[in-house]
Amino acid sequence: MSENSAVSRETYDIIVVGGGHAGIEAALAASRLQKRTLLITMKIDALGRASCNPAIGGLAKGHLVREIDALGGEMARATDATGIQFKMLNRSKGRAVWSPRAQIDKHAYSAYMKVVCEEQPGLSLYEDEAVAVLTDPPETKIVGVETRDGTVFSCVALVLTNGTFLNGLIHIGDKSFSAGRIGESASIGITESLVKLGFDTGRLKTGTPPRIKRSSVDFSKTTIQEGDETPEPFSFTTKDFNPPNEACYITKTNPTTHDIIQGAIEFSPLFSGKIQGVGPRYCPSIEDKVVRFSEKSSHQLFLEPEWTDAEQLYVNGFSSSLPEEVQLASLRSVPGLEKVEFIRPGYAIEYDFFPPSQLKASLETKRVSGLFFAGQINGTSGYEEAAGQGLMAGINASLRVDGKDPFILKRSEAYLGVLVDDLITKDTDEPYRMFTSRAEHRLLLRYDNAHFRLSQKGFGLGLVSSDTYQAVAEDMATTEKAEAFLEKTYIRAVDLESLGLEQTTSKDSYSLANLLRMPRVEVEHLKPLLPDWFSSIKPSLLSLIATNSKYRGYIEREQLQVERLSRHQNTAIPPQIDYMSIQAISVEARQKLQRIQPETIGQASRISGVSPADVSVLLIIIKKIVSRETS
């Protein structure tokens, strides 16, 4: 433990429990916002540990990481610093769905995060297990937290980011044992203490594949997969980006593999009924795939290095909770893995979560003020989803301490806004993961404009440095100037050929912006018509400018939709409305509203079962209540 993390048992502004991706972002944001912050974690050396795959980003998740960066979070910088292979996914598709992904060196990542946390002024670290949340009777306000060693820390705001640790139970075949993840104990006590306060809890399940010895793999039978030759960094602040490009390897299962798995299916805790929790369908175990998609004779497996020169490889695509012998026997039927040896088998883990409809949009619980939840405790999955929530919770805990209004992103502003809004208005019955299809404003919420969308907010909050913000603002100004030029510069139809372009409509002339709207036309094609200053625009910005042009019509339509949405979207619903007594609302809506207690009309309208007519009635009731209170 470094010197500045020495713990005094005084009051903190903010305490964060858990040192995973959510906890780190929460603690860093809080302390960077000048709050005296304590991070309690069961193992300081495990700060920022990636429990599952050695990768950050990916479809939709890459968007989240960029947004975290734009708001001043750490995940993007850590990934740039410790990534060993970078790849832009969906490059063959439209730029709205491009998404960056990186393989990371797990050791380096965790070490990086540890250093950042230790060196962060205002942030103290404490190694112990939090066992109880302490509230002020009548139990509506947080006052502190108690750890296993009996220490009591008091605070104004508490952020719980317990991940899969709450009553974690690992399953491998018919064996099961208590653990937070392999090799680390579960956390016991927090759930019980929250249930006592009246919180609802549920059980979820997730899994991870075996880790194998690199020296036991015959790579000649696999296909090599490398990253991009000219990788793009995640963070706006990363300069001189020159990361390694370590290979991954692809191989495939076959009918023999599937037969072995099928033959031992009764020993899988998933199928024997031993596992109660619901697992994610987008991340099925290999036994799930074999049973549910029996018509598929083969599934791809990716062998991914967990760190540079790693002897340990991650078998992506082979998540399993079958007995170790079955996992080993079936994997050995896969080309290249005939002699494979395990470092450890795959496993499934069940853990407690708290249905996030119990949260406000600030991620503060509705029940207990000053208490925030972020990450897997909210039933999400994924490092990026966790980090995003951690950042938002850290910011909001800090605003809470200051007595300021919460920081809430709209669905039309960020994937982070979609994430939080989905969590609090939907009933999750499986771990929630971000997909681009969840964002109705997908064409607007691109990875490439994350900083345009959010840096100003990050700067306003105090998390983005003025240098960074200035740089973003300059890019925005350049973009505006370039777009104006493209809009007002015309070319005659007859001159199109000279640019190597075909005329597809009967127009006499086209603005350059118009040309860019056509598929396959890029800024490159317009080069001869562009003034000199265009050539000094950096390539990533040029691409963004072209993308803006391409989506313009559609984005305007989406924008119109946003504006047409009720001006009442943000109308606050006063607390403690007795929904059950409102006869003019349908019974189903009454029950849902009573349980979820939405904070705004917008949230209410997105709860399934609440009709526009119900919302109208609600507006009327609110207007009456508000006027009664003010008169």
Binding site: N53, G94, H299, A613, K623
Partner: protein, 446 residues
Amino acid sequence: MQLTDNDTIAAISTPPGSGGIAVLRVSGPDALAAIHPLFSTPEKLAPRQAVFGHLTHPDLGEGIFDDCVVTFFKGPNSVTGEDLVEISIHGGAYLQHKLLDVLVLSPSVRLAGAGEFTLRSFLNGKIDLSRAEAVADLIHARDAAAHKNARQQLSGGLKALVESFAERLRHILVIIEAELDFSDQEINFTPTEKLLTPVLGVKAKTRDLIETYFYGKRLEDGFRVPIIGSPNSGKSSLFNLLLGQDRAIVTNQAGTTRDTIEKGFIFADHTVVLVDTAGIREAGVQAEISGVGRSKDEISRADFIIQVSAPDTEPLSLELPEDLETIDVYNKIDMDKTPPEGYDIYLSCNTRQGLDELKKMIYSHVVNISNAGVDGVIISSERHKDALRRFYTQLEACERAVLDALGPEYIASDIRLALDVLGEITGETTPDDILNQIFAGFCVGK
């Protein structure tokens, strides 16, 4: 579904059924802009002033909306507290709906939902707060009624048909979204061009379905069957004969009937509205000319017509629309021993010869039309038609996106919007519905 109340809504605000004067209201930021292109003297519209004029639009027909009064109320000084335009017109249910129809064609105007005008009035402080509960109950009740109504209309065939549209679009969306969200997985993706066929299929059926609104309305309001012909051919005589009462004046003077007379009667379970019209010829006095205008108008609204010729009159000097179903009647057969060939019915109003054949033919036309529709389905609700029309527009956008090879994310955006519109008739499609189908259909996840 999302609540929008920052837009412009329109509705007929006088009670249903035909009164002497009907009032249509348009409320919201685009109220004035919406009336502008239709109204003869929009520049005269000043707040709180009733302006006399006429309405023109290709879909409105000629001269029907000659006498109307438009009054503009500038928000917040209006009943809804928003910009509001009131249009007072003469005319029955048909004309009112026709005008409403044209108004909501404008993309910025939509049909008002149940109780929406009242809601806006209330939210903008135009209704006393003490009436909050009453307004809430009213909206609830109207919504429940509208729902019940819509459900009834959505029974059986229509529900299945619209649901099949949604299902096909969802299927396309599932393919596209799987490609966008799981492109890093081993999925065989369908090339975008292949998606066009189902979109076009749905689009064609939607267009046909929208067209059945006409017939759907007919089932409610009755089939309109004008009797058309040259002056003195015996139209009024036939009118009376079919009705079994002397309703119209019959004389031996050409040009007797000046105004149209209509009368409904139940005919083989369907209501048929017979319309006696003025005889059509080139010249005539002023009243007769405008009567001829009305006759032409009747033709444009007709489900089918009975065209009457007679041995002692000129042939009809009017070209009829090609696709118009016509029963060609040769009247006064008692006067002509050698009638020309080629008529459907040879009739004498005097001797009733041929009357039974004519009735049979009317019957078979009515039944034919009733059986029209898409897969035997017709729509009769304004709301359904409105939604289907917006759905259709969205499908057109989708088609363009595919043809222009814009890429899956554009097409997905179009299909989502199309499904949103359809959600107003059936259930809504959420991202989770799509994801569920992806998880069920594709082995995704590493």
